[in-house]
């Protein structure tokens, strides 16, 4: 799903350069605040940029590892002053000072990256220097400041050399040293006559003092909200200019957690913008699409070709969606002025057959228009929450809202190459903004239950008299799980596909041998995707004299590629501070029929589990039916972003699962009937 967090994500970087605090975190791993308990301390005014003695005093007073034993570095000072002009242009001057506390901090902070876009931003690194523990000052030499392209955009398959960053390599950095940088950035507006901003007041390092001032014309009043805590705020107005200032001191650090929600969701932050309402933003976004939803003869012909055999509206829409999602490759280049948020012409994308999310969405709209179906270009956040209080352009992704004849609206994502369902299941509980000429308000989509994103693992298993096991397994899915299975089919080359199930099978038994792995065509979205294989495992039973014992094979969840990662890798922590990001509600159904060797009777089976715990549920049951053991497992998560309480539910569920997995089916040899038998 990396690429669904697409071009619009870049807005966070280029529209909001101070998010460097976040982007640094992204280089390592993401984060959340524990701010609720601690009100913000009253900040002292920060020293002037050129006041070295005052900076040295700050460094001395800052404290070290003894005071911050959980930190690798300390943000002593982060001060930013932004001046916004009427047309939305703005100049930012950022001054920061970071003290290195550990070896890890030294490695992390000794090189600093400053992202920019060659067309929108001009960056001047006014000062970069190391303040040694001793108080001596060392400038970064010019040859240690290099310009290059951004790695993050390449990971999103945006291969545009205008997405750049300066890299500053601080020399002679030792623990205890402090790293200073003063940067001025002049930015052209991405949004005509408007200003949008998000600033992080919290990062993976404790922050001692931070001050942000935005000076904007009074004619462009700034809406603003601080999330996840409190910050001192003041507002002054003079000569038609309003100065908004936020100050905070002693902000605790965020903590890294594997699989955690976006740091942007959990950090103390400011969201600010000049749009008066979501409807205004909706109208603005629509204006960028003006003339883009175009068509030509080739496109018309293609639509006719795609829909000629379709009988229903749904079939036609699906045919177009599948064409755009699969034929148009996700790739960003030649992104012209405004292209972060302004799409290319539909006909251009149609011709080149590549584009980013908004390009694909616009193309889909254009093609739907040809069959008389109304649709909306729609903005959505995937990996992070939408802050509803302030209308801003900070969306990660664009999808298509399709209006059906009966008035219902279906949300389809033409960026996902392998989404087969009619409407995405992942959109549940998320906010969307439809771009519309008349302007639309932010819309929260209804919950989509895990039921619609289940994976099914069905097995027929034979326990052999020699203690081995033979099994047949079939996997299929619906909604998000179908998408997940197809994505694995795409990512894993055909020759490695059997290896994946062989490797997973070792969770069931070390001796497993998986064979005859067959998968339908992952790219054929019209046909249900299915994976099937057989397996054998020797020495599965434990022979204990009069008993034979074995564990229920599919209770291992070994072959459940959609759930096994949650059980194996995401539940080790005793507690989590932040939500666990799961992308979508989801679940799993396991069904197994186990044939037993002749001459044995079942004298023990694992105790059933029936747990409904917060947003999760787990049902595990093994029973005897017509001489066979029938196992069923049903696991569901009804939150796509599992909150800390939900995580504890998950822990309890996994604990119950593990006990079931370790329990045994116990067989006993039947007593031989007496010769002659009874009448």
């Amino acid at each position: 799903m990396d690429r669904t967090i697409s071009r619009l994500t870049l807005i966070f970087v280029f529209l909001a350069l101070p998010l460097a605090a976040f982007t640094r975190q992204a280089q390592e791993k993401p984060a959340r605040p524990a701010l609720q308990a601690e009100p913000a301390a009253k900040p002292a005014p920060p020293p002037g940029e050129d006041d070295l003695p005052a900076l040295l005093a700050l460094v001395r007073q800052a404290g070290g590892p003894e005071k911050y034993p959980e930190a690798n570095a300390l943000v002593i000072l982060d001060k930013e002053h932004i001046v916004v002009r009427e047309n939305g242009e703005f100049t930012s001057r950022q001054h920061s000072l970071v003290k290195v506390l550990t070896d890890k901090g030294r490695k992390t902070f000794a090189a600093r990256k400053i992202p920019y876009h060659r067309r929108y931003n001009t960056v001047h690194i006014l000062r970069a220097r190391v303040i040694k523990k001793s108080g001596a000052v060392m400038d970064v030499p010019p040859e240690a400041i290099k310009d290059g392209t951004m790695e993050e955009t390449q990971q999103m398959n945006i291969l545009e050399e205008n997405f750049r960053r300066w890299s500053v390599a601080y020399p002679n950095v030792e623990t205890g040293d402090s790293l200073e940088i003063l940067v001025e950035t002049v930015s052209k507006p991405l949004i005509k006559d408007h200003f949008n901003y998000v600033a992080a007041f919290q990062s993976f390092e404790p922050r001692l003092a931070q001050e942000l001032t935005i000076v904007a014309p009074a004619s462009r009043p700034l809406k603003q909200v601080v999330k996840n805590g409190r910050v001192d705020f003041s507002r002054t107005e003079r000569d038609g200019q309003v100065a908004y200032t936020w100050k905070i001191a002693h902000v605790p650090q965020l903590k890294q957690e594997v699989g955690m929600a976006s740091p942007a969701d959990v950090a103390l932050k400011l969201v600010a913008g000049t749009f008066s309402s979501w409807a205004e933003l909706s109208r603005y976004g629509h204006s960028l699409n003006h003339g883009k939803v175009d068509s030509n003869d080739l496109m018309k012909a293609k639509v006719r070709e795609l829909t000629k055999d379709c009988r229903t509206e749904e079939e036609k829409i699906l045919a177009i969606h599948r064409y755009v999602s699969q034929k148009v490759r996700y790739m960003g280049s030649s992104m012209d002025m405004g292209a972060f948020i302004e799409p290319h012409q539909a006909t251009y994308t149609f011709e080149k057959q590549y584009g980013v999310c908004r390009d694909k969405s616009i193309l889909m709209m254009a093609m739907l228009k040809e069959i008389g179906v109304e649709s909306f270009d729609t903005l959505i956040n995937i990996s992070q929450r939408t802050e509803t209080e302030v209308p801003t352009i900070f969306f990660e992704h664009a999808i298509c809202a399709v209006v059906l004849k009966d008035g219902r609206m279906v949300f389809m994502d033409p960026t996902l190459e392998l989404s087969s369902s009619f409407g995405e299941t992942y959109v549940g509980d998320r906010y969307v903004l439809l771009l519309d000429e008349r302007g639309k308000d932010l819309l929260r989509l209804p919950h989509v239950p895990a039921e619609q994103s289940l994976v099914f693992v069905r097995g027929e298993t034979v326990v052999l008299p020699d203690g081995g096991l033979e099994g047949k397994v079939r996997l299929s899915g619906r909604g998000f799980s179908d998408f997940g299975l197809r994505s694995i089919g795409k990512q894993v080359p055909a020759y490695q596909f059997p290896m994946v199930f062989q490797q997973l099978g070792t969770l069931l038994a070390p001796t497993v041998k998986v064979a005859d792995v067959k998968a339908s065509d992952f790219s054929d979205l019209a046909t249900p995707y299915q994976i099937s294989f057989n397996y054998k495992a020797r020495d599965y039973l434990v022979d204990v004299g009069k008993y034979k014992m074995f564990r229920v094979p599919l209770a291992s969840y070994a072959f459940d590629v959609m759930s096994i990662g949650i059980f194996e890798a995401l539940t080790d922590k005793a507690e989590r501070l932040y939500p666990l990001f799961l992308f979508s509600t989801r679940g799993s159904v396991q069904e197994e029929v186990i044939s037993l060797p002749p001459g044995y009777e079942v004298i023990g089976i694992p105790d059933p589990v029936r747990l409904k715990d917060g947003p999760l549920s787990l049902v595990l049951a093994a029973g005897l039916k017509e001489g066979k053991i029938v196992f069923t497992g049903d696991f569901r998560i009804e939150q796509s972003n599992l909150d800390p309480a939900g995580y504890q539910s998950l822990r309890r569920i996994v604990k119950a699962l593990r006990r079931f997995q370790k329990s045994m089916v116990i067989l006993q040899k039947r007593a031989e009937p007496e010769k002659g038998g009874s009448q």
Binding site: K104, R329, K352, Q503, Y540, D572, G604
Partner: protein, 635 residues
């Protein structure tokens, strides 16, 4: 024959077959196979041609041509953005053809805006060192069934006078036809080795040039398996060079290294300070090494990628960061300033065997330092800030190129005695009547396991370390309570890692009626070797272990009164050429104490496909249900 016009004409004739006209490109596209011929491939190289030329002025160039057919969406994602590596200070590139041929032969050119120069992601933290960029050609209109055609010419800006290279003839995709040409002035000779191909170069003289041509067809795809040797080693390839010997191949690097290694007063003072009071030369070496490994930041740039120029040792010291060349020059300078003999050693960190008959530095990717001691050498890895002192992760037992001021010679790289990879683990506990197990884990590790332990724990804060030990217990039993734990001083690279941890595993014993099930635990930590499990049923390529290794676990548990032993696994022992495998169980009824010991020792790194099935069977034996289960019965 020395007329440049004449030479250019001959060269162009020689290259004519390399640079097909558009018609012939279309013919090549037409000859692309159907996907059905390669059901396991995501794409296929229909034709690939590379010609390396060295002219009389010493300038070199590469002409490259490729037609690749994309079979599915996976192949489209992998190949639609074609990258040309380019050192912008030393080379220039002209893209002569970049075009998608759709299934119906419609051609769509790569537009200007879709050609971008980007910093390679793997150089993200090393770009101050390298001028390497990737020129990316993003192909439009790529569908399964489309062919991508690329032709470019890369020329050196300077005149290096020599040429060397490694060209792979086998990839993860099948290659239908590949041709390599090396074109040299006739008086030059080519040293080369062809690995994995049955054919040899055809040598022709054409005017003033000698042309070496090697062709291969229908090269099968390499299908990567977990833990196999690198693709660069597995696949067929050609290593070639015009250098006469290793001394000549090293000359440029040596010259730069020699100039850079000269100690400055600051280096001399630092060496004196660091070695003050050191009782032995060994101690001097340790102190100097630890400074460079730990206090000078490592910039992970493979040797050779940013050129061969070495920064002055004094500058590296001032900057406190460096790549392989720079960290090794600083370490060498410090050692020399302390009166020790030290030299750089070029090595291959992936243990790809070096073709010693072909003098090409392209076969190396890292620089170690060798210290001369008596008649022997010992080796230091200046990047090894999280390993036992003297441990040679990945390169132990490989051959490296020792570069002395007057000569370059091969030597065997060996780690110090005591850094062999061993993992010794013990889990000891007392079970009570409710099935709770209270006990202690002890893990002592060296070599690769020590390295993994330091990677996991060395940079962790106190809370992160506490979390690590709590979370590790999940492998023993979910929700196990962690008690006190101890970790040896991880910053002391001279002492192997030792950890111990107390625990309480509630309901470790599972009651089913009168029977109590106990599961024999696995190794306690990831760093102690949990992941060293062969999972594939069979292999086409060797299984490359991270190191030769000895791993053991002892599980000892006292059982509560009122219980009798119902089942305990049987012991076994195997001895093979490549290692030994031992499993023993015992029950001391007097002490009511159960003991399960499992251990294996592997004396080679590569388990060959022919050995694998047997090897796996023995490793599997440790984790068979019957060998991981103990049954008690309540009486």
């Amino acid at each position: 024959m020395r007329n440049p016009v004449w030479r250019a004409l001959i060269l162009s004739l020689a290259l004519a077959s390399l640079l097909p006209a558009q018609e012939s490109v279309e013919n090549i596209v037409k000859s692309a196979p159907s996907r059905g011929k390669f059901p396991e491939a995501t794409a296929a190289v229909v034709q690939s041609r590379q010609a390396f030329s060295l002219d009389r002025a010493g300038r070199k160039s590469e002409d490259y041509f490729l037609v690749l057919e994309v079979f599915n969406l996976t192949g489209r994602e992998k190949f639609s953005d074609f990258r040309i590596p380019l050192d912008k200070n030393l080379e220039k590139v002209d893209v002569l053809l970049a075009r998608t041929y759709k299934g119906n032969l419609t051609a769509v050119d790569v537009e200007k805006g879709a050609i971008n120069d980007v910093t390679p992601p793997y150089l993200a933290d090393a770009d101050m060192y390298s001028n390497l960029i990737h020129r990316v050609l993003s192909f439009p209109a790529v569908d399964p069934g489309s062919c991508l055609a690329v032709r470019y010419r890369k020329e050196s800006i300077d005149a290096p006078a020599q040429m060397d290279g490694i060209v792979r003839f086998q990839l993860e995709e099948p290659i239908l036809s590949k041709e390599l040409k090396v074109i040299l002035p006739a008086e030059k000779s080519l040293k080369y080795k062809i690995i994995g191909l049955n054919s040899d170069f055809r040598v022709e003289t054409s005017g003033p040039d000698k042309i070496y041509t090697l062709t291969a067809s229908d090269q099968p795809q390499v299908k990567p398996e977990e833990y196999m040797p690198p693709l660069e080693e597995i696949g067929s390839r050609v290593v070639f060079s015009t250098y006469t010997d290793w001394n000549e191949a090293c000359r440029g690097f040596l010259r730069s290294f020699d100039q850079a290694v000269r100690p400055t007063p600051e280096i001399a003072a630092l060496a004196a300070d660091l070695t003050k009071g050191a009782a032995t030369p060994d101690e001097k070496v340790q102190r100097l090494f630890l400074f460079v490994a730990k206090d000078v930041r490592s910039v992970k740039l493979p040797f050779g990628e940013g050129g061969l120029e070495v920064h002055q040792a004094g500058v590296v010291l001032k900057n406190r960061y460096g790549d392989w060349k720079d960290k090794s020059v600083l370490l060498t300078a410090l050692l020399q300033a302390a009166g020790l003999k030290a030299f750089p050693v070029l090595a291959n960190s992936q243990a790809i065997p070096v073709v010693e008959d072909v003098p090409s530095l392209k076969q190396f990717d890292c620089v170690l330092v060798a210290v001369s001691q008596g008649n022997g050498l010992f080796f230091l890895n200046p990047f090894a800030d999280k390993s036992q002192f003297g441990y040679m992760s990945g390169v132990d037992g490989t051959r490296g190129l020792l570069i002395k001021p007057d000569t370059a010679e091969f030597c065997e790289i060996r780690g110090l005695s005591g850094t062999e990879s061993e993992s010794r683990n013990e889990i000891v506990g007392q079970l009570d009547g409710r099935g709770d197990l209270k006990g202690k884990i002890v893990s002592e590790v060296t070599g690769i396991f020590d390295h993994w332990a330091r990677q996991s724990l060395m940079d962790s804060t106190a809370k992160e370390r506490r979390d690590f030990f709590v979370e590790a217990l999940n492998k023993l039993q979910e929700d196990t309570e962690s008690g006190n734990f101890k970790v040896s001083d991880l910053k002391d690279l001279r002492t192997p890692v030792k950890v111990s941890q107390e625990f309480l595993a509630r309901r470790f014993g599972i009651f089913q009626g009168k029977i109590v099930l106990l599961n024999v635990p696995d190794l306690p930590y990831e760093f102690s070797g949990q992941g060293l499990v062969p999972r594939l049923a069979k292999r086409q390529y060797p299984l490359r272990l991270p190191d030769k290794a000895a791993v053991s676990l002892t599980f000892r548990v006292k059982i509560p009164s009122g219980h009798k032993l119902l089942y305990i696994p049987e012991s076994f022992s195997f001895r093979k050429d490549y290692g030994s495998f031992d499993f023993s169980t015992a029950f001391d009824s007097g002490k009511s104490e159960l003991t399960v010991k499992k251990s294996y020792t592997l004396t080679i790194r590569d388990i060959l496909p022919g050995q694998y099935e047997e090897f796996k069977k023995m490793m599997d034996a440790f984790s068979l249900p019957r060998n991981t289960l103990i049954l008690l019965e309540r009486i």
